[in-house]
Symmetry: C2
Subunit: 325 residues, 2 copies
Amino acid sequence: MKLAICGYGNIGRGVECAIAQNPDAELVGVFTRRDPAAVHTLTGAPVFPASSLDARAGDIDVLILCGGSATDLPAMTPQLAARCNVVDSFDTHARIPEHFANVDAAARKSGHVALISGGWDPGMFSLNRLYASAILPDGKDYTFWGRGVSQGHSDAVRRIPGVLDARQYTVPIPEALDAVRSGSMPELTTRQKHRREVYVVAAEGADRAAIERAVVTMPNYFDEYDTTVTFITAEEMRRDHAELPHGGFVFRTGKTGLNREHSHTIEYRLTLDSNPEFTAGVLVALARAVDRLAKRGETGCKTVFDVAPADLSPLSGEELRARLL
Amino acid sequence: MKLAICGYGNIGRGVECAIAQNPDAELVGVFTRRDPAAVHTLTGAPVFPASSLDARAGDIDVLILCGGSATDLPAMTPQLAARCNVVDSFDTHARIPEHFANVDAAARKSGHVALISGGWDPGMFSLNRLYASAILPDGKDYTFWGRGVSQGHSDAVRRIPGVLDARQYTVPIPEALDAVRSGSMPELTTRQKHRREVYVVAAEGADRAAIERAVVTMPNYFDEYDTTVTFITAEEMRRDHAELPHGGFVFRTGKTGLNREHSHTIEYRLTLDSNPEFTAGVLVALARAVDRLAKRGETGCKTVFDVAPADLSPLSGEELRARLL
């Protein structure tokens, strides 16, 4: 399958690397709204201006959209689904129904397949919530995130006066994980589930106490959590906090039996050195599925829920049954 | 959907309980090869002779086959797929391709849908192996089972002269789990991955040393493992070992990045108080999918790999996207 990348940030670079790991995938090139001459790809893949997409759409089986969910994808995905098959990683949970409707209308009209909200949450975590709730209808779900870098929370701290740079780690609380694993179906507050660790590079002479206060009391972002603020040097930030690790847990605990006498726990856990590279791995597997759906004549917007697992794998049905079932 | 059960052992009883937890499912009845008057169902569901299946097949959307994999299902599933839509839990991994071919031929000819090898391994564990290998193509899989009762190993011990009753627990070794979680992709021997705990009720006057020797040296079953044998009373067996807990872990660790510089671990873990009741929960969710596939006009043999996740859930696509994605 011939894949292309639209947008060349962390996820775009991750997709470029992931395509190199999949022998059945070929990278046609990277499309960018920047000056193509200023974009240097990791593998030497060609770079084209976004404006040339129309002319090259016929060479592309699936275009992987690597823009941001806040402003890029809401416009970009419907627009590009009008020209070719696409996959995106739209992750604003509350706006998924609206995004789905917009993309579905565009993809049906143009006769393409567009898969939205690929990645791990939404994505693999969502799949696990669905399978687990179908198997254990009498139960309770829990999702924990981390330990990992939250870009949104890091950005929020960077906007505080006197902050030069910041990194925020979301950390699940071990006692809460244990309580869920026990099957006791605890009710957990926001504060009981996660804590937040913030590392700040402050400007010279900045009021560190005021920065710390501004962080820990920030509404929505930090006020409902126990948060620690640690001041570090720019050198320490570069050395110790350059990576984007993440991960988390999806649990469902449920009861079965005539009198609900048996308890069960399903746990799905991700431990990721690189959030964007793992997300990219999911997107490339989903692009394979989109290519197959399109070649079977399907059209419209899809999510991970609509794709048979076999379509994500390069193996044939026969190979899958013999090796993985 | 109207479901029926064929075979009324541990899994059949589990399916009966699971159907009661799913408001969109109705239990038509239990079919048995025994004398129906001698079978008393947990919920008072009617019991019919297996011979009446032909006459009642028109009332059944999906028949859940709860026979054993060794001798029942290889004949039963193709035979019954000729009459109605079916789901089975065939779990002899090595014979799945052959079973698939037989069931597929029967189901295509009759125009029904037959899903084989539902449950957790094969089943949910297989799904996790597939998704994880599609996302992380450069990686390594590990499956661990337990802590849980293995019926096959318990039966093998029961056949030793002087043994009145026996229960075998398969136990994953914590150091092996930790080595896998570290992402170091260790090579693990059979002995390093699991140990076996055996509880035996011996006949009065039996040679306990000889029984222990017969257990720990038994080829295929125990000789490659560290096994402990504990002699207990019949009363202790009833009190402490009446349940059928099980579970296990599926891991994939893999590398990403231009120079494989990032490591990732995907872990799926089940902790089950009742192996047959959890298996039954999976079978009922799969029966829902089979009913939908059949109503869309599909035919032939399917596995968990071929079913879009949304088809396992009673929720609509719209509800799934809004609540679980």
